[in-house]
Amino acid sequence: MVDTELYPDQVYDLISVIPDPEIPVITIKDLGILRAVRIEDEEYIVTITPTYTACPAMGMIEDQIKEILSERGIKKVKVELTYSPAWTTDWLSYEAKIKLKQYGIAPPNHSSCSHMFDASEKVICPRCNSKQTELISRFGSTACKALYKCNSCKETFDLFKCH
C-alpha cells in the first residue's frame, strides 16, 4: 500500500503514540494536545493545541510528528497550531490521570476550572495517599504544575494544575 493513501484516521493513530516530552508516561493524545488530522491539497494537516500558550514542547512535538510520518514515506505534512477550543485538563482521560499518579504527579482534582486556584484545597499525595499536604508554590517545574509537600511521607510532589 502506498503510504500517501493512508486515511487521516490511520495517520492519527500513527502519531497518537508520541509521548509528551515533559511527562513521558502519557501521550499527546492522552493529554489532548493532538486534535485532528485532515487532508488538504494532497497534504496531511495535523492540528495540535498547546497546554499553555508558551508550552516549549510544541516545537519538539511537531518535529516528532514529521519524523514518524517521514519514516512511513509521508513528506507532505503540515502541523498547525490552534488556540481554540482552549486546552483544558477536562480532556485528560481517567487512564491518563492514573498514569500521572503512578508517575508521582497528583492529577487535577476537578473537571471544572471556573473557580480561582484555592491554596486550601485538599490535594492527595500521589506517593502515600495522605491528605496532609500543603502548597509550596503555585508554580512548579513546568507551567502546568504546582509544587506541594506531603507532611506524612515528607516528600515534595507536583500537582497537575486544573486548567
Binding site: Y52, T53, C55, Y83, S84, A86, F139
Partner: protein, 252 residues
C-alpha cells in the same frame, strides 16, 4: 482606518505588553528572593512570552507583508513599540516587582475576560487561553501584596512605597484612542472605561487587606499608545535586540 489596520495595531499593542513584561520578568531568572519565587516569576515570564508569540504572530498575519512574529518582536525602533509604560518599569526591589504585577495582572484578568467576547475569532481564542493563565499571575501578586503589606514594618513600608511609585502608570491602562474606539464599535475591542471601576474596586480590596493605603489619583504618565516611552524601554531593547542586531537572521 480600516478594520485590518486597526486590528494590526491592537494585536501589536497587546503583544508588546506581553513581550516587554515577559522580558522584564526574565531578568529575575536566578535572582528571585527564594528558589520557589524564582520559578514562579520565570514561569509567569514564560506565559508572557507565549502570549506575545501568539499576538505578534496574529499581528504579522494581519499585516501580511512577509514579516514574522520574530521580525516584529526584534526589529522595531523604540518609538514603534506600544506597550504600556507600567510594564517597562524596572523590577526594583521585590516589592516593586510585586506592585507592578498586581496592577497589571488585575487589569489583564478583567481585560482578557472581556476580550473573550470579541467578534474577532483569533483575539477571542487567544483571550480564552490568557484568562486561564493570568488568574494564576493575579493570585500570585495578591498573595505577595498581602504578605508584604501585612508583614514586618520594613516590608509594609517598602510595599507602600512601591504601590505609590507605580500608581502614576496605572491611568494609561484605561485610555481609549481612535483605534480602541473604532474596534469597540466593530465589536472587536474592549471598552476600557467601565473596566476602571472594577479594577479600582479589586485593587482597593487587596490593598485594604494588606493594610496598605490606596493612592489618590494624581498626575498620570501617558504616551505609549503613540510610541512615547520612559527611558527604561530603550535599555530593555538594547539588550533584547542585541543578538538580532549583531547577527541579523540568526536562527536557533
Amino acid at each position: 482606518m480600516t478594520t485590518k489596520e486597526a486590528t494590526y495595531t491592537y494585536a501589536l499593542r497587546l503583544g508588546d505588553d506581553a513581550l516587554i513584561l515577559g522580558h522584564r520578568l526574565s531578568e529575575l531568572c536566578s535572582r528571585g528572593p527564594i528558589l520557589e519565587e524564582d520559578l514562579a516569576l520565570t514561569n509567569i515570564s514564560l506565559d508572557m512570552i507565549g502570549r506575545a508569540q501568539a499576538l505578534l504572530k496574529y499581528a504579522a498575519d494581519t499585516e501580511n507583508n512577509g514579516n514574522t512574529e520574530d521580525d516584529i518582536a526584534y526589529r522595531r525602533a523604540e518609538n514603534h513599540y506600544y506597550n504600556h509604560l507600567l510594564v517597562e518599569q524596572p523590577n526594583g526591589d521585590f516589592a516593586h516587582t510585586i506592585a507592578r504585577q498586581l496592577l497589571i495582572s488585575v487589569f489583564e484578568y478583567l481585560f482578557y475576560t472581556e476580550l473573550e467576547k470579541s467578534r474577532d475569532e483569533n483575539l477571542s481564542a487567544i483571550a480564552k487561553k490568557v484568562t486561564k493563565e493570568v488568574k494564576y499571575h493575579m493570585q500570585h501578586a495578591i498573595d505577595w501584596t498581602i504578605r508584604l503589606g501585612d508583614g514586618t514594618n520594613e516590608s509594609h513600608k517598602r510595599m507602600q512605597t512601591a504601590i505609590n511609585d507605580m500608581w502614576m502608570y496605572s491611568g494609561e491602562l484605561f485610555e481609549m484612542d481612535e483605534v480602541d474606539q473604532y474596534l469597540f464599535r466593530e465589536g472587536v475591542a474592549v471598552d476600557l472605561i467601565p473596566l476602571k471601576a472594577h479594577w479600582q474596586n479589586r485593587i482597593q480590596t487587596v490593598l485594604t487587606k494588606a493594610t496598605l493605603v490606596t493612592p489618590e489619583d494624581g498626575y498620570m504618565q501617558t504616551g505609549s499608545k503613540k510610541g512615547v516611552h520612559s527611558e527604561n524601554l530603550g535599555h530593555i531593547l538594547s539588550e533584547m535586540q542585541y543578538l538580532q542586531r549583531s547577527y541579523p537572521d540568526a536562527k536557533w
